[in-house]
C-alpha cells in the first residue's frame, strides 16, 4: 500500500508499520457518526500507544486536506492515508456497496504484525463489530510479547 498521507506526502505501509504492532484502521469518512464515536475511543488509546511501541494508521477515501482537518479536530497524532482514487478499496474487498454516493471503505480494523500479517480483524459495518479498546490492548499485548525478547526483564 502506497498512498498520500494527511499532509499529501507519499507513504508506504511497510515503512509506517516499521518494527511495531500496528492498528490499520479503515473508516468510511468524517460524515459517519459511528466512525466519529470510534475515533473518540482511539484518541483515548493513543495516549497509551505513544509510550508502548505501537502504531496506528487510518485509511479512508477522503482527500488529504479533509483528513488533515478531521485529524486536527480529533487531536489525533497518528498518520492518516488518503485513498481518494480508491486504488485499494476493491483489491482489499472493502468497498461499502450500500453507499453509492461516497464509495467508501467498509469500517475494518486490522491489527498487523511488523511483517504485515493480520493478527486480528474486526469488521464494524452497522452493528457492534468494531473492537473495544480492551480488545486492541490485548492484541497489542500478545503481539508485543511475541515480538520483544525483553518482554520480561532480564534477571538481576
Amino acid at each position: 500500500m502506497d498512498l498520500p498521507d494527511h499532509g499529501g506526502q507519499r507513504r508506504r505501509l511497510s515503512e509506517l508499520v516499521g518494527g511495531d504492532p500496528t492498528l490499520l484502521h479503515f473508516y468510511r469518512g468524517w460524515w459517519c457518526p459511528k466512525e466519529r464515536q470510534f475515533f473518540r475511543r482511539l484518541v483515548d488509546l493513543q495516549d497509551d500507544a505513544e509510550v508502548a511501541y505501537a502504531r496506528m494508521v487510518s485509511v479512508s477515501v477522503d482527500p488529504s486536506q479533509v483528513q488533515a482537518a478531521f485529524r486536527a479536530g480529533l487531536d489525533a497524532r497518528w498518520t492518516f492515508l488518503s485513498d481518494q482514487d480508491r486504488r485499494y478499496v476493491t483489491e482489499l474487498g472493502l468497498l461499502e456497496i450500500t453507499d453509492t454516493v461516497h464509495d467508501p471503505y467498509l469500517p475494518m480494523c486490522l491489527v498487523l504484525t511488523p511483517d504485515l500479517v493480520v493478527h486480528a480483524a474486526y469488521g464494524g459495518y452497522w452493528y457492534w463489530g468494531r473492537p473495544t479498546m480492551a480488545e486492541l490492548r490485548q492484541d497489542f499485548r500478545e503481539l508485543t510479547r511475541a515480538l520483544r525478547p525483553d518482554w520480561d526483564p532480564p534477571p538481576a
Binding site: G7, G18, Y53, D75
Partner: protein, 171 residues
Amino acid sequence: MNPLWLALLQSDVGTGAAATAAVRGLDDRPAGVLCLWHGSDRPHEAALQADPRIHDSQGPECVVSLALAASGSEPIADDPAIVEARRAVLRDGRPCAVSLLSADPVSVAGALTVAHADRADQVAALRDDPFARLFTARLLHVAGGALGTLVRPTGPSLERYAGRPWPYDRF
C-alpha cells in the same frame, strides 16, 4: 543501522566525516561546516547523535532549524516539555524531517528540523519549530549532499528505541 553523529563546526576538522556541508546564516554569512559521521563512538566532542535516516548523500540544499540546549542544562528525553514538543510535531504533520539530538541515552541536547530549500511550505514551517520554544534555535542554510530525507514518524508512539534519538523507530 549505524548511529549517526553530527556537529556544526567552524571548519572541517578532517576527522573522517561521512559528509560535510557548508552552512550559511539566513543573512548569507558563513556559519561553519556541518559534519556527519557514522559509528558507535562519538567522533568529536561537539558531535550529537541524530536519527541515522536523516543523512542523505544525494540530498538537496536545505534550510534547517537547529535548536540546541545550553551545555549542562540538557533536559531528560521524558521531560514533559520534550514530550509535548514531540506531540506537537506529530499533531501538526509538518512536511519537514525532524530528529532529536542527544549526547547520551537519557537527555536531549537539541533538535534538528530539516526543510528542502526549494519547498516554501517546509521552510515556512521552520518558523514554528516546537523545539525552538525550549532551546536556542538558529535558521541556517545547509549545502546539498548531507540532509534531505523526509524522516517522519508514524505516530502515536513517542518512545525512543534503545536510546536512539526520536523518531528513529527500530530496535
